[in-house]
């Protein structure tokens, strides 16, 4: 991933900063510049909104054939998480045994390494989820 692209996404990847449409109130993550529902009526009304970082597993899958950055962790859990604020996001769930992951499980945000550009490149950090404690 190009350095500027990841750098631009730091607020959402580190702190779950999404957007709220000032016209219809819909939350989006990652943040949008224009609300897809309201179109130009939302322009100039989009606000940044930080999510609380708590949610529930809506569905999940176990990844056995992983992309390179995640090879060390396979098999691992990838889940759709419904956040307290109502929107859904896809993320890895860590610190959970494969037999223990369940639909409906409460999860909380964790800060982890997402990948790195080889041995000498930039390291990317961001959110993952773990069982709420």
């Amino acid at each position: 991933m190009a350095i500027p692209r990841f750098w631009r996404e730091i607020p959402s990847r580190y702190n779950l900063v999404g957007s709220k449409c000032g016209n219809c109130g819909t939350l989006d993550f990652p943040p949008r510049l224009v609300c897809p529902r309201c179109g130009r009526r939302s322009m100039g009304k989009m606000e940044r909104r930080k999510l609380a970082g708590r949610g529930t597993v809506v569905s999940y899958t176990i990844i056995h054939d992983a992309p390179k950055d995640f090879d060390m962790m396979k098999p691992y859990v990838l889940a759709i998480v419904e956040m307290e604020e109502g929107l859904r996001m896809t993320s890895q769930v860590i610190d959970v045994e494969l037999g223990d992951i369940k639909i409906g499980m409460p999860v909380e945000v964790a800060f982890r390494k997402l990948g790195e550009e080889g041995e000498a490149g930039v390291i990317h950090y961001g959110y993952k989820f773990r069982p709420a404690r």
């Binding site: 702190n15 982890r112 950090y125």
Partner: protein, 351 residues
Amino acid sequence: MKAGIVSYGGYVPRYRILPKEIGAVWGVDGEAMGKGLNIRAKSVPGPDEDVITMSVEAARAALKKAPHLDPKDIGAIYVGSESHPYAVKPSATIVAEAIEAAPIMTAADYEFACKAGTAAMQSTMGLTLSDMYRYGLAIGADTSQGAPGDALEYSASAGAAAFVIGKDHLIASIDQTISYTTDTPDFWRREGQAYPSHGGRFTGEPAYFKHVVSCANLLFKRAGTRPEDYDFAVFHQPNGKFPVRVGKMLGFTDKQMDTGLLVREIGNTYSGAIMVGLCAILDIAKPGNRIFAVGYGSGAGSDGFDITVTGGLEEIDRKAGRTMRSMVEDVKFLDYATYAKYRRKIRMREG
């Protein structure tokens, strides 16, 4: 006006490996090795964890306990570690963004073997006392490495702790601090080397014991106190043996040292070691309790702290987030092969 601790947070990864498991690979009686070191298991960072992720977890834990704290009031973040993920690029800036303290603040990484975190505590004390800013965040964190088969492999572990230091809303005042520093080459890692080297038995008497005892005696003198004046004592814990021995030499009892002695269950977290011990003490301390803390970093130096818990401890929410005890007890044991994979001890194909 005194400086002190405004909030605290610790983090320990959940993975562990037993000394028996390590010894079995190298043809050594690992169980006996563990008993000799007084270490039952050591923590291992997950493959997606490093000093930065653990520092962020510890810093967020500190902020969660004290909702009155506005991260924008943190004017400095110093991360002490000997295993910063980057040789050049600060860990502290990433922590600053991740807790939303950036950008109007200063940040830097510290290194002083196992005492870089306590050095950060002293720096932030001085800078808050001089009114350069309201709060400073001092972090000690490490994912320490021991060369495969080396005695250090049985103890080198992972953990982090973060202390918000300031002058108001104190949960514990730091009444005195003093350091004792000399040029003593007991343990080092040269630039570009994957594993540290050490002087074997030379790490004991002329290094750890000389510095900890000298610093502790200076601290007693400056504070005008004796061991029996303290409810808790915590020392740098490279293994479970040294801190107990040095505590006894100074006149402390097992009861005073037990709470902060996490090394027995998680190993040596290096820059995090004395600080996670302090976190475990603050988890159960009561207003009025006194804590005697002396860290140690190879190379070599000791930082001592005379701490008194204040009524402010009741004002923060210590139940917000996980206690050190719950993290120490949340365990998943690894076999050596998985540990070697997670710690990148296995040479992989490029690309």
